[in-house]
Amino acid sequence: MLKRKRWIFAILAILPTLAVFAYVRLYPIADTLRLSLFKWDILSKNKPFVGLANFRELMGDHLFIDALVNTTIIAFGVLILTIPMALIIAALIFHRTRSRMAGFYETAIFIPHVVSLVPAAMAWKWIFDARLGPLNALLTFFGIPAQSWLFDPVLSVICIIVLCSWQALGYAVLIYIVGFKNLPVSLYEAAKLDGASGPQSFWYLSIPMLKPITLYVSVVTLVSGFNVYAQAFVLASDAQGAPGRQVRVLVLDMLENSFRNYRVGYAASEAVVLLVIVLGLTLIQFSTLRERGKA
């Protein structure tokens, strides 16, 4: 009797949340999968089922390939730049954790992660500005010719990587600090008694023991790298907003296909590609963790 009452309460209480969840999450996700199999253009009345034709077309679409390549370079670029720096900075902050400055370090390094994206990107846009930017002024001071950072396709990808890494660093540092706090102190004391130096125990103890955290931070960084959009939009669209100047990334290509070319089904198939990449990364993370658990 009592049990049934609890059951009814649980169902009734969860129902509104569940309904909202189904409407704003489950349904659109399912719809993405469905649309990707249709030639679903806003402008045409006929919306036929085409199977995997959209995906086949994507493989030959040079704009999509461009976007995929750029996005992959950005995602891995951020990863390579961020992880080692975050690990070292977190180790040093953890080492100084009892000093009065620790809170300041953490806050200062974390702030770029929380400030609004667009204004933060504006700050970097000024730094990279070809005529007015301090970066070029600094370069010419050292006798290096000024670069048109945000107009050159290769350089602007680098600029996006720098901006994204600047934002990602604080998060990675924070997670690593939590990781350091959870490591067993006794092991370090034993190592110290055996004559290990600080850098040695960092290399032989901390790095291997923090592997699950490194994996986690890597996957989070990669996933957000594959979703990059705002940074590319702000940095690489020029003062006149010429869309041709933008660095092509996956989300941008998706939005252009659906809202400029009205090819919703085609854009949905791009979304599915993005989903597969993200799922793949997450599966790698889980399977590596499970293997570790077995060993």
């Binding site: 704003v24 080492h95 000024w126 500005d129 979703n227």
Partner: protein
């Protein structure tokens, strides 16, 4: 007092100087680390400091090298120009309304669902929870186009309701609250209340919610900042000038024909300063929320 000195061996002068040398070395290392971390911290903050400084500069000073951190001749001309050219305050109001409503929705849904998933673990509930968790992996960008068409058919494009549609629930929030429920709300407490004749809803309101205050605070801060910094969704849902959020307004403002750097910086600073202040005030909640991401398992 004498017992104290029983095991105490007077160090030789040699050992003493060895200790002093070690301590000195340690202090030197700590000093070097502090210097390094201070430099890194300053470098991280520098772009934002320059942005705020630029907002108060005259066009001439903006071009000077090296760039000044404290404007020689501070002016608010940039701010008044921006306020004259754009509905900046309207955009900020839109963002605040959107972020506050999203926070309320996420905190409410997460509190209820997190509690149910934490304490009512029937098989159906476990399956539902797995479903919530599984969708947490799917990035918003993947399904935002179908969601846009849902907003369109509801007739809520270009309104705060349209913005809200994308940010009503947060799988991670439900997960976070569930973990907290499991860790900090003992079954005995709930059973005792039930024996005293308390109804399930009363228990949730008067026992569970107060105990979850810390976790819900952390979640609220995360949810607020998530909506405040949202970009792709507001960009496609809000397409009229008066319905922009501040992020979209700023991003599109910079692509205008006549915008100069001073005005852009002023507009950006107007957004940055309050959000940095808010972060510094709520820092502890924020860090608690972020730190529990994926690490509590």
């Amino acid at each position: 007092m004498t017992t104290n000195s029983v095991n105490y061996i007077e160090p030789t002068t040699e050992e003493l100087s060895e200790g002093v040398r070690l301590r000195r070395k340690k202090r030197a290392i700590n000093f070097a680390i502090d210097v390094f971390l201070i430099v890194v911290s300053i470098l991280m903050l520098l772009p934002l400091v320059f942005l705020v400084a630029n907002a108060f500069k005259t066009p001439a000073e903006m071009l000077s090298w090296p760039p000044t951190i404290i404007p020689r001749d501070p002016t608010i001309a940039n701010f008044s120009a921006v306020l004259g050219e754009t509905p900046l305050l309207r955009w900020i109001a839109n963002s605040i309304a959107f972020a506050v409503m999203s926070t309320i929705a996420i905190v409410a849904t997460s509190a209820i669902a997190g509690y149910i998933f934490g304490k009512f673990r029937f098989r159906t509930m476990n399956i539902l929870f797995a479903l919530f968790l599984a969708t947490a992996i799917v990035p918003f960008e993947v399904y935002m186009i179908p969601l846009y068409f849902q907003a369109k058919s509801l007739g809520i494009l270009n309104s705060v309701w349209g913005l809200l549609l994308g940010y009503l629930v947060m799988s991670f929030g439900i997960f976070l609250i569930r973990q907290n429920v499991i860790h900090s709300i003992p079954d005995e407490l709930l059973e005792a209340a039930r024996i005293d004749g308390a109804g399930e809803f009363w228990i949730f309101l008067h026992i569970v919610l107060p105990l979850l205050r810390g976790a819900l605070g952390a979640l609220a801060v995360l949810a607020f900042f998530q909506a405040w910094t949202a970009f792709a969704w507001p960009m496609i849902v809000a397409t009229t000038r008066t319905s922009y959020t501040i992020e979209v307004g700023l991003a599109l403002f910079q692509t205008g024909f006549t915008v100069d750097l001073g005005r852009l910086s002023a507009a950006s600073a107007t957004v940055l300063i309050p959000s940095i202040l808010l972060f510094v005030i709520l820092r502890r909640n924020f860090v608690q929320g972020v730190a529990s991401t994926g690490l509590k398992e």
